[in-house]
């Protein structure tokens, strides 16, 4: 069984009065309870102790209103409920079951979106909303579901690659050729989300990547990436074996650079 190290951290930052970012790290085990056996303790040792799957999620409550925290917390809780009920029994998914898994994960995201809207019905102002970036790791395959402008990165052989694309108005306008990068940097609505759970639009993106021993995954909210550029993140992840130190360093860097937003980071490394 492949050993996986992971660590998560969140901080409210230097400016915001509360923290609306949330993260979750879960090891999912097959439930086996040996009541009685003629097998020796040695024969049974370590057979059922390793996790079958791992779930990693970051979510960033949107808007700064009181509902933002509930939105990010609710989205993570709903995903955890679905994943813990259905995924623990899988070791390696066949292609048709993979498609079912993706559809169910997407459905879960849409259900959370719907429930946020229903809870907010009749109330004033925009509904609470959240980003969500999730990786479900069933070794070696890492399944990704992404909504909003939190991010997932993969680091392999020293090279950091961004798996997700920010779902913001600015990114959309740039990709359509309507704005240049400079125009997007100046435009006020550029940072607004073009897709969020509970937002006016919802476009979940799904994908996967097969990991190798030594690879790392990093999930984060925009409280990190608005202050720390990708090349600096790559440098800070040069020693990914020490997941605690790397996570703390990433969060510290964001705070030292201003900490204008809440920040949440998860670092995951597959041991060599």
């Amino acid at each position: 069984m492949q050993a996986i190290d992971s660590f998560g951290l969140t901080d409210k930052g230097n400016v915001r009065p509360s923290n609306q970012d949330n993260f979750l790290i879960v090891d999912i085990h097959r439930s086996v309870d040996i009541r009685h056996s003629s097998l020796s303790a040695d024969a049974l040792a370590n057979r059922f102790g390793s996790a079958d799957a791992h779930l990693f999620v970051v979510a960033d409550g949107v808007g700064g209103g009181p509902g933002g925290d509930q939105a990010s917390e609710g989205a993570i809780a709903a995903l955890l409920k679905y994943v813990s009920e259905t995924v623990g029994c899988f070791n390696r998914l066949e292609s048709s079951k993979e498609h079912d898994l993706f559809e169910r994960l997407e459905e879960t995201v849409r259900d959370v979106d719907q429930s946020l809207r229903e809870e907010h019905a009749g109330k004033r102002g925009p509904a609470p909303a959240t980003t969500l970036t999730m990786v479900l790791l069933i070794w070696p395959r890492a399944y990704l579901v992404h909504v909003g402008d939190s991010r997932a990165y993969v680091r392999r052989r020293g090279r950091l690659q961004q798996m997700t694309r920010d779902q913001t108005i600015g990114e959309y306008m740039i990709s359509m050729g309507a704005w240049t990068e400079e125009q997007a940097a100046r435009a006020r609505p550029a940072a607004a989300l073009s897709s969020a759970i509970g937002g006016t639009e919802l476009h979940p993106v799904v994908g996967l990547v097969d990991l190798e021993p030594g690879d790392s995954i990093m999930l984060c909210t925009d409280g990190l990436t608005k202050h720390v550029a990708n090349d600096r993140i790559e440098t800070l992840m040069e020693q990914p074996e020490d997941v605690q130190a790397v996570t703390r360093n990433l969060v510290s860097e964001a705070l030292a650079a201003g900490g204008s937003d809440n920040v949440a980071v998860i670092v995951v490394t597959a041991r060599k």
């Binding site: 498609h99 993106v205 799904v206 994908g207 996967l208 097969d210």
Partner: protein, 168 residues
């Protein structure tokens, strides 16, 4: 419901992601972003009286550091090999990629999208090149992810082929 796994394969930068975006969302992005791992989209198409859900696996492109991963291709029902008509080497590499893919999944319905036909002045392929593709038993379509030309036809042909209903 019929569901078919379709893999987009080819060299990096040939327009695999753009073809999927054009087919599924009718949009074309001018910003190049390389795919990491696999991005998955889906779209329903009508083949006769049957509705087929195409699960589109957009694989990261082959480059100098890594090959097309067989693990992503296993279980595929159809393949779209994407070639960039403005970069001859992407056609030259097609046959190597095809051999690797055959080793992973055997012979399955496949089509070649010769992409970027909107870039007429930069076009590097001859009619003989495209005839050579045909002579290897591969159906091919000229496509433009930018204008949408040939895109619908390519995916539709492959959907029909996975059901054994395509015309050669």
């Amino acid at each position: 419901m019929i569901q078919k796994k379709i893999c987009m394969v080819g060299v990096f930068g040939t327009g695999k992601t753009c073809l999927v975006q054009q087919f599924v969302h009718s949009i074309f992005s001018v910003k190049y972003l390389s795919t990491v791992g696999v991005k998955i989209d889906r779209k329903e198409v009508q083949v006769g009286d049957q509705t087929v859900t195409l699960m589109l696996w957009d694989l990261e492109g082959r480059d100098g550091t890594h090959d097309v991963s067989p693990s992503y291709i296993r279980g595929a029902h159809g393949l779209i090999y994407v070639v960039d008509g403005t970069r001859r080497e992407t056609l030259d590499q097609l046959h190597e990629i095809r051999e690797m893919v055959r080793g992973a999944v055997g012979e399955i319905p496949s089509v070649v999208a010769v992409n970027k036909i909107d870039l007429v002045e930069e076009w590097k392929l001859t009619d003989a090149d495209e005839a050579a593709v045909q002579s290897r038993g591969l159906q091919h379509f000229r496509t433009s992810a930018k204008t949408g030309a040939g895109v619908e036809e390519t995916f539709k042909w492959l959907a029909e082929a996975t059901l054994g209903k395509a015309e050669a």
